[in-house]
Symmetry: C2
Subunit: 216 residues, 2 copies
């Protein structure tokens, strides 16, 4: 039974890879850079994205898709940035896939955009297996989650292009050791850029935005 499951999953993953490849080509032709965000629930993806959209939209044409099992809370929050935003509700599914992204952008003229963000469902495991056609993937880790998360959830860090350490304003209160966190990240994904920031104070946000803009 298990071997059949694996075989079927493989086929489904391959189907996703094909859809992701088509999306990536479509994004390239439209000239839009696509950045996806992954993390645990509550690591601050939406707060980060709200800051980034607000900051970038004065100079760039930006939009966002946000995934959750239920509610459109995040889309409502992000809409305050004035950027176009669409919510993807996955129901019971623990990750976004390329088909969900394809369906969500129906009706959008991608050539009107410079950057599109995709906020995945909060989950530090499953999203790592699904290519969404993005140009870069950011993994967020909040200081309240502990320094050992890269060691315990290596695959999501190995598939990312940059790490954002969030909620640095709480670092002292939770006795977060940045040095240990950096060492653990380096251990599973050597050489990956790491940004420390606080969306509450705004510290570190410009450096992360600069990295995102350079993806283009």
């Amino acid at each position: 039974m298990t071997s059949r499951l694996i075989e079927v999953r493989q086929k489904v993953l391959n189907k996703n890879d094909i859809a992701a490849r088509a999306l990536r080509e479509r994004f390239r032709q439209a000239g839009v850079s696509v950045i996806s965000l992954v993390s645990s629930p509550g690591s601050g993806k939406t707060a980060f994205l709200e800051r980034v959209l607000t900051c970038m939209r004065t100079q760039h044409r930006v939009a966002a898709l946000v995934g959750d099992l239920a509610t459109d809370n995040d889309a409502v929050r992000l809409a305050r940035s004035q950027a176009p935003v669409k919510q993807i509700c996955t129901g019971t599914i623990c990750h976004l896939d390329a088909n969900m992204v394809e369906k969500a952008i129906e009706g959008w003229d991608l050539s009107d955009l410079d950057f599109m963000f995709i906020e995945n469902v909060g989950n530090l495991v499953c999203p790592s297996s699904y290519d969404l056609g993005e140009n870069a993937r950011l993994v967020l880790l909040s200081v309240t989650e502990g320094e050992d998360k890269p060691l315990k959830y290596p695959s999501i860090f190995q598939g990312a292009d940059a790490v954002i350490i969030t909620k640095m304003d709480l670092a002292e209160a939770v006795e977060f050791c940045a040095q240990t966190a950096h060492r653990n990240i380096e251990c599973v994904r050597p050489g990956i850029p790491v940004f420390e920031l606080s969306t509450k104070t705004g510290a570190g946000v410009p450096e992360a935005v600069e990295w995102i803009v350079a993806v283009r």
Copy 2:
């Protein structure tokens, strides 16, 4: 393809249900109460369990299984409580299942135990679908994750028997609104007991332990 995946998954889930039923009967015959813990990565399952094991083991025979994709960090931490502890490494699998539990308890005489805890992989989605034969399931939610998580991840709350709100010592720093959190929990899972606690200060831990002891 998708319909085949669903069909195969259904069979695998049914297989898990059968294994979980057998485990539950085994636990009953041995007279051990089994409590599982689910939450996001970094919500404080291990810190909570460390407190609970240390507190309970003066009067009860307790043990724990801890699941993670990789590392035995949690087992090492929990072993400080002097209770028997085993680590389950799931590799790339995003949840524990009944077979993993069955394999992990090989060699343990369950009739030597009053309580066994199972700490699931940090994931607020997938573990909700897998019965582990436990008598009660606790879902942990830390104040740093935000009050809306029950609305965004309803299934994990709907399948739980009690909610533990952790890191209450940080509530003020993150402007956590307990009233909103309680209302959201009540909305998706009416009548469920909710405990607020801080493993750092110890406040609220005795009330949660009292609830666990009463499961027996």
